[in-house]
């Protein structure tokens, strides 16, 4: 440097030396670029790394020749190196030490590596896959709140069943996605009512789906307390997340079918079970109807035989028993005429009116379905102490207290005498 008038004037060599000092100490970096203009000179390979900009680069030929696969002109690479400054010509270049193929090939290789690691630990095994709950108390949904997948999955779920959903809004691509999804899995797993989790994202190019091939994400899915449904990408886009999840689906409809039942079908199934209960009880009562009728008639006969009772008392008690007979006999329409005949004989002409009510009810009862009959109630003769149904007259004695349970209430009765 010299001073000419008011100016400081520098030699080129001083400038380049200053630049060299500035550029020293820059750390090595990974660069993703297309490789171009490959040429070898002496022990070096020279090339250009470019995207929309470009920079010269070089690598020792001995290193370059060992690369497998060896990059060719036009190939996409990850190159690792540092900035090199040639002071004599003030030229910048990258001195490359390592180089790997990039792009789809690289991503596929990365996916295969993660898949192999997880498979070796058994995390992709079908045996690990858990059944999904039929009716989850709450559903965890991990997706982007702004994405179409959120709307599609929710609408399909709610078209089937009015499920309660906890939504975790996450980015579904980019470098922060995997970590955010892992956090969302943890947060949803901490909510006891969440019994299944859906991870949803629409389709996209491989690089957009790479978050779902992230090893930490896949491990978090495997470690989830509740089953995880992977609804990521289209049918053709298989991610490692799909493989490690308990269920993989490729459409919002598939996701909905996996996590909730069809409400209408379930209601129909419960209604059928209710009818089955009624039918089953009716069938049992069919077999027991005669025994029940005999026991009831035995009580009436007992009342009638009690000579110290006034006729009006017998009539009143007999009338109270009639509804019980109706209901007991109701399950077995063909038993009604038998009951009717015996009731007439047992109660005599004074109770003819009551007996006619029983007979009239026979036609009505036949018109009723078993379920309606049960809905109307059934009468059971119980031991009031134990609450157990009484199935045999043999155990009854004069004075035994019994309870008749009917649709709308109970009647307490006393055995006067038994005939077995």
């Amino acid at each position: 440097m010299k001073t000419v008038g008011a100016r400081q004037v520098w030699a080129v060599q001083e400038i380049t030396a200053a630049l060299a000092r500035r550029l020293a100490g820059i750390p090595s970096v990974w660069v993703e670029a297309e490789i171009q203009n490959l040429r070898q000179r002496g022990g070096q390979v020279y090339f250009t790394l470019r995207d929309s900009h470009q920079i010269d680069a070089s690598m020792r030929a001995a290193l370059f020749e060992r690369l497998a696969p060896r990059p060719a002109d036009g190939g996409l690479v990850y190159a690792y190196g540092r900035v090199e400054f040639w002071a004599e010509r003030a030229q910048l270049s990258l001195r490359i030490e390592r180089m790997e193929p990039a792009g789809e090939g690289a991503m596929l290789a990365q996916i295969e590596a993660i898949k192999a690691t997880l498979a070796a630990e058994g995390l992709l095994s079908d045996a690990r896959k858990r059944a999904l709950p039929l009716v989850p108390r709450r559903i965890g949904l991990i997706t982007s709140a702004a994405g179409a997948a959120r709307h599609d999955v929710l609408n399909n779920i709610w078209a089937r069943f009015p499920a309660d959903v906890v939504l975790a809004d996450v980015p579904v691509q980019g470098v922060t996605a995997a970590r955010a999804i892992v956090r969302a899995l943890d947060a949803l797993n901490a909510i006891p009512e969440v019994e299944v989790i859906i991870i949803a994202r629409g389709g996209g190019p491989l690089e957009d789906l790479m978050a779902f091939n992230d090893e930490r994400l896949c491990r978090a899915v495997a470690a989830s307390r509740v089953p995880v449904v992977s609804a990521v990408g289209h049918e053709k886009d298989v991610t490692v997340c799909d493989l490690v999840a308990d269920r993989r689906v490729s459409t919002p409809t598939g996701a909905a079918q996996a996590v909730v039942p069809d409400r209408a079908a379930l209601d129909a199934r419960l209604a059928e079970a209710a009818r089955g209960l009624a039918r089953g009880l009716g069938r049992t009562r069919e077999a027991n109807a005669v025994a029940i009728a005999q026991r009831t008639l035995g009580l009436i006969a007992g009342l009638r035989a009690a000579e110290h009772r006034s006729a009006s008392q017998v009539a009143a008690t007999g009338s109270r028993l009639v509804p019980a007979v109706q209901r007991i006999a109701g399950a077995s329409a063909h038993a009604v005429p038998v009951v009717h005949d015996r009731l007439v004989r047992a109660t005599g002409a004074r109770h003819e009116a009551a007996a006619q009510r029983v007979a009239a009810s026979a036609g009505l009862l036949e018109a009723l379905s078993p379920s309606r009959t049960v809905a109307r109630g059934y009468a059971i003769v119980r031991d009031p102490a134990s609450g157990r149904p009484v199935v045999s007259a043999a155990a009854l004695r004069g004075g035994t207290e019994l309870e008749l349970e009917m649709r709308d209430g109970r009647a307490q009765v006393t055995v006067k005498e038994t005939h077995t």
Partner: protein, 78 residues
Amino acid sequence: MSEADDPTTFEQALAQLDEIVARLEAGDVGLEEAVRLFERGQALLAICRERLARAQQRIEQLTTQGEPGEPDDAGAPF
């Protein structure tokens, strides 16, 4: 199955209900047992229906996103 096995999931309640219906429909149980099964079946139906009635199509959004100290996506290489 016995009454002691209170169903904890909808599937369990439904499975117990199916079993009871099958036993009742087989028609070879005594009256006392039939009444007991019927009452148990009614209770299970009530459990199932209550569970279905709880679903209200509610949606809640978690608010635990965006931890501080996230690595910055953008930035200079050096």
